[in-house]
């Protein structure tokens, strides 16, 4: 087991090195993307700041809380895009048949596909988000327990995000309309810039349990602020683990389906 993990990690490093050299080849694009992402982030924070300053808070959240929600959103979405970048290029690999060659290699295809390309743009933006997380979080004066829950839920969010990637990748084996599913998800994801309860009970519930954005983003942030009931913490982990289990099962199903489909 340990040996297998070590081997996967080594391959992951090599793949990472390869995508780094790709990034370095497109330095101009790299810089532009980085600037664009930073610009979007700071402009949004600026807007939020002025909106909340004037209105004195939205749906019982203060300006600093709202900004923290926003920063957590960016942090988690950036982390998952950094690690699970592969889902954006996977469909192309299926269409071109490159996936067949991946499948015929002695390495877990799922591992290769989901973790296969590491996004260094997100890695470069990460320190800024960590700093933003620190500076907006310190205003909220969390307890040590709050921080522990926050970190644990953060890992849970990555598990959820991984499960989502597995779902998308599996779907790409069955249908070719996956690009749209990913893009629609990304649009929906932006709803979690704000705590999902501001959308009212109905939509809030859907966003929490169906598209689990609430569990992925709002819950960790709330735990940090010490306003998340412990039963929701437990629920989050149950949700995270079961979606991991189900998504892996779905991947196996999709692979079998792919294997019996026409070439």
């Amino acid at each position: 087991m340990i040996k297998r993990i070590k081997r996967c990690f080594r391959i992951w490093l090599i793949l990472g090195k390869m995508s780094l050299s790709l990034h370095l080849m497109r330095r101009f694009g790299f810089v532009v993307f980085f600037l664009g992402k930073m610009f979007r982030f700071f402009f949004f924070v600026l807007f939020l700041f002025f909106i909340f300053k004037r209105t004195g808070g939205v749906a019982s959240y203060s300006a600093s809380q709202a900004i923290f929600f926003f920063v957590v959103f960016h942090f988690i979405s950036s982390l998952s895009q950094m690690f699970f970048r592969g889902i954006y290029t996977f469909r192309q690999q299926v269409v071109s048949g490159g996936f067949d060659l991946i499948l015929s290699k002695p390495l877990s295809a799922l591992f290769r596909v989901v973790f296969g390309s590491f996004d260094f743009i997100d890695l470069v933006t990460l320190p800024f988000f960590v700093f933003a997380l620190y500076s907006s979080g310190s205003l909220l004066s969390p307890s040590l327990l709050d921080i522990t829950f926050f970190l644990a839920l953060l890992i849970n969010s990555l598990v959820l995000s991984f499960s989502f990637s597995v779902l998308v990748v599996s779907l790409s084996l069955i249908t070719l309309e996956v690009d749209h599913i990913v893009m629609i998800y990304r649009d929906l994801e932006t709803m979690a810039r704000f705590p999902v309860d501001i959308y009212g009970k109905g939509i809030g519930t859907i966003l929490t349990y169906v598209i689990p954005l609430g569990i992925m983003i709002t819950f960790p942030a709330k735990a940090f602020m010490g306003i998340l009931d412990i039963k929701f913490v437990v629920l989050s982990f149950v949700f995270g683990l079961s979606s991991l289990f189900l998504s892996l099962k779905f991947w196996r199903f999709a692979l079998k389906k792919y294997a019996s489909a026409s070439s």
């Binding site: 081997r7 080594r10 391959i11 090599i14 793949l15 090195k17 390869m18 050299s21 790709l22 080849m25 071109s96 048949g97 490159g98 067949d100 060659l101 991946i102 499948l103 015929s104 290699k105 002695p106 390495l107 079998k256 294997a259 019996s260 489909a261 026409s262 070439s263």
Partner: protein, 330 residues
Amino acid sequence: MERVILIDKLVKEFVVNTKEPGFFAGIRSVFRPKKKRVLALDNISFSVDEGELVGFIGPNGAGKTTTLKILSGLLYPTSGLVQVLGFDPWEKNHKYLKNISLVMGQKNQLWWDLPAVETFELNRAIYEIPNRDYKRSLDELVSLLEVGGLLNVPVRRLSLGQRMRLELVASLLHRPRVLFLDEPTIGLDVLGQTKIREFLVDYNRRSGATMILTSHNMDDILNVVKRVIVINKGRLVFDGPFHLLVESFARKKVVKIYLSDSADIKKFEQYGKVVKVDFPEVVISVPRETVALTSAEILQNFPVADINIEEEPLEEVIKKVFKGGKVKDA
């Protein structure tokens, strides 16, 4: 000789969703797809011994690629026995996958924007090739395929032929015992094809690896393999030495005559079918058994400057193979 590949009564059925035109039909098909069964492989049996180099031919859609995909564990067989190196390919046991390689002429594993050597390094990690073996394989393959200067050039800047040779290097670094090649020369120019062909024959002899090669290209078959397996519409039509294939299907020979003087062309019809008349050249097709007699008579009765007896073009033979049923096993 050890049996490396064993296929017995293999059947592969695809379930295909039929698409109807129109938007609403498209929506409907999402919820209630119309399914159709397509028989891709119909009761195929053959076996391959260690070190053999087998040509696998047939028209488009005959099931060649399907067979290779089943052998490399990508497709799940509907029924029948498939065993390679004692493994069931579908289980994708890593021990098995480390001993095979799949090369597809139109699909690449090399990273497009990076030099090929980067992909080699990746494969080294994936196949866990020890350092010394890796170096030795790489040196050997590089010199055999003459790609020494190309390792550090981004793949996208290479010609198709160069790329294909590097694809071969990437696929052979781990010294697979069994090699599946799907149309490895497709799209290449004549020189590129020749290089790959020569390499394959040479590699087969040096390494003793078992190889199955599919191709459209008759020259590949003619120059590379001794044994051919022909399938058509999912059925095995012929399995045996190449010369037997020609003998059993090429019932006629082609006689080319160059006349030195004008003659009554009609008279040629008594010997066989007149294929082409383009004075001074006359081409007739003559049954194999009577060709000697016929040419002697022609030499006697016509003003002949030159006469040539040739085999039927291979494409013609193959066409007949596809038309006819199973002929005989060798």
